[in-house]
Amino acid sequence: MPHIPIERHTLPNGLRVILSPERRTPIVGVNLWYDVGSKHERPGKTGFAHLFEHMMFQGTANVAKGEHFSLVQAAGGTLNASTWMDRTNYFETVPSHQLELALWLEADRLANLLPAMTQEKLDNQRDVVKNERRWAVDNQPYGTWDEKLQELLYPVGHPYHHSTIGSMDDLSAASLDDVGEFFATYYAPDNAVLSVVGDFEPAGALAMVERHFGPIPANHRRPPVPDTEIEPLIGAEIREVVSDRVPLPRVYAAYRIPVFGTDAFDALEVAVDLLGTGRASRLYGRLVRERQLAQDVTVMAFPIVSGAAIFSLWATARPGIDHEALTEAVLGEVDLLTDEGPSDVELERVQNLHAAGIESGQERISERADRLSMYACLFDQPERANSEVARYGAVDADRVRSAMAASLRADNRVLLTYLPAEGDQPGTEQAA
């Protein structure tokens, strides 16, 4: 396994800087994680962290609206940003001789966003984000699944109860004052991690970082982190049936599990692959190939860092297959693996797939940078990027079994079922 070089620095204003040179291709990645996500949103402001992310591309005192994108693309770069429950990230990959441009653009918007902010820009991006929601959620078959799982897994008022995209009403209510306050509260160098990965010389890059980020003041007045404390188990099974514009039924099962970074989460990541990764996985082999109950199966664990994380799986019914029979079969496979644990052959399979997958992911500068930022931002341990394969490989059959037994239980389960709507009237009904 390759060893990612990691050089850590902290500027006097609190900005954590990770440098990781890799000279194979003359490109460099710049990646910033801000320790703010949708869990920090206040009631009535759902979707705001993500809307704010859009505002970060709307220009500054020094950069015109739209110019951030244009400058990076004209430099031969690619860029984007994303918001999730725990964090917001911004990233560019550019030819290495354009490193300073990317650093300057990131520092400039952290320093000089507000003087150029206008109501017109906010209204425009509010419309864009509403269309993002229509596209990704409202007009999408099964598009509400993760929003509904969050609502059912976390109680009302919990910071993870609402989705990152937020509600249309709350997006409508977002104001220019909200933009200013959010920026002043969360967008500060001491609330961020900056990773620079790829073709650069560390001393020169650090000097650039100091030049552009150094003058930006820290903000020591952040509010306390939101209380995400929650019971580890739901305590009952929750079932909901959604009538949607879909051609085939799909069943989702989701559970509260220990958070990302724990040994139990590592063990459940192995369970994800045993159940759902590859054609030799249990759910694919039994439900898709042998019994032909499912059209497809997907299993995933959401790497959430506080309160409780999520283990979820879904299966789409083959035409003519009853959704209850499918649900029973899916849960039966989960229970079977929990009872008997994986064989050595199964463990070898997922370990080798995982190792190859990590190797493949790390070929991408942007992926390396994002993982370094993630581990630095969420755990203050960027070195964890080098121990992923070892941590995964350390999980044995007993750990898989005990982690599954502790969390993947009927009294800790949400069952969400999508059924084809009769006519054109999608709706939701709560059961049990």
């Binding site: 390759p2 291709t25 004209a74 001789h97 441009l101 425009n124 269309n131 003041p217 797939l353 995982h354």
Partner: protein, 452 residues
Amino acid sequence: MSELGNSNRPAPSAPRPYRFPDFTRHGLDNGLTVWLVPIAGSSLTSVHLLIDAGAAAEDELRGGVASLTARLLVTGTRRLDAAAFAAATERLGIEVNSESSWDSSRAGFQSLPQHLDAGMALLAEMVQQPRFDPDEFSRLKAERLAAILQMRADAGSLADESFVKHLYDAGTPYRRLAGGTPEMVETLVVDDVRAHHAAHHRPGRAHLVIAGAFDPDEALRLAEQHLGGWSGSGPGHRTITPAATGGRRVVIVDRPGSVQSELRIGLVGIDRFDPRYFSAAIMSTYLGGSFGSRINRRLREELGYTYGARCGFDPRRAAGPFSAAAAVQTEVSAPAIAELLVLLEAAGAAPPATDELREAQDYQIGVFPLRFETTGGIAAAIEPIATYDLADDYWQTYRDRLEAVDAAAAQQAAVELIRPAELLVVAVGDASAIRADIEALGVGPVEVVPAP
């Protein structure tokens, strides 16, 4: 107004030159061409086997057979059934893929270098001694039919499918999905797959690309060892001569209750051999191929109609479609169509501004090394050279050819390739909510069709 930091934009330093990796090619006696692309610093090996057995090679009456054949390949060999084949590959950390497009069938895998030999042995066994089990065939056929249902439930996929269906005339295979229509797939039997494989999955017109970390002599020896005994040469692809239904018009595909309309506007574009390939690439970049392009800037950043809007060509062995695309909220469907038409019509009316031409070229030339940061990306870059018989120095001259596009050439490409009188508009959305507004635009005859 306080300002922090330096307001002066930093200038770029001297670029470190990038060169696409050198490669060699070797012809085996059975006609298979082996391409070797060693990559310094790579710790993976990518293997891609390209066969002239895509949808363009199938008999139109058996539409979809190429796709089903490719998918059925991974369900085992005479020696290993589907479960055993999956177990044998995945225990090496390998996920074998096999798929088919219009112009080729492609099978391959990526692995750690120590598994290259074992992986190639399994890949070779898969293409030479496929199992083609009738039960697995029935399963994959049923899955394919259900997958088409799923795709049609997705407004964007339905818009893509509907656009080509209404764009090309009845004699052009490109009017349907490469994987076949449900009606075509319904008629297929396992013997069709066996026949397609027997006729087309042959080394004579095939290419094996190996990229990444390996010893070239050893890799060539492995290719000979595992695939040297494969024999024959298939007839290859048909000649497709695309023709448009023609005429400017609007087709609304009714999807009641939609909160957005998925728009596609365009016409028949260019083939992969078109001398205007590079001028068309630059023109479509400033028109709708980047964030700051005219189409995205107008529809997203000025009007807020959409999360994103774009346009582009899809060149194949014969002329694939050109289209502009956006998902817009239902209420603004008609004005969004009008805006897109204005931008498309204006493309040929004047040469591009100096800045936007420069920006489009700088973007396409500048991202060149970013496209090749991964082993898989480099292996994939050999595919057009192999499939379309492009020059071996294709990637070495690529940036110069983008740079050579001037304003007159870009405008000329727009004049010749975006002909306003031929633009087809497809809108997948709620007809009852958008029809009247679209008719009132007066951009052409409007037809409403039900969703399939």
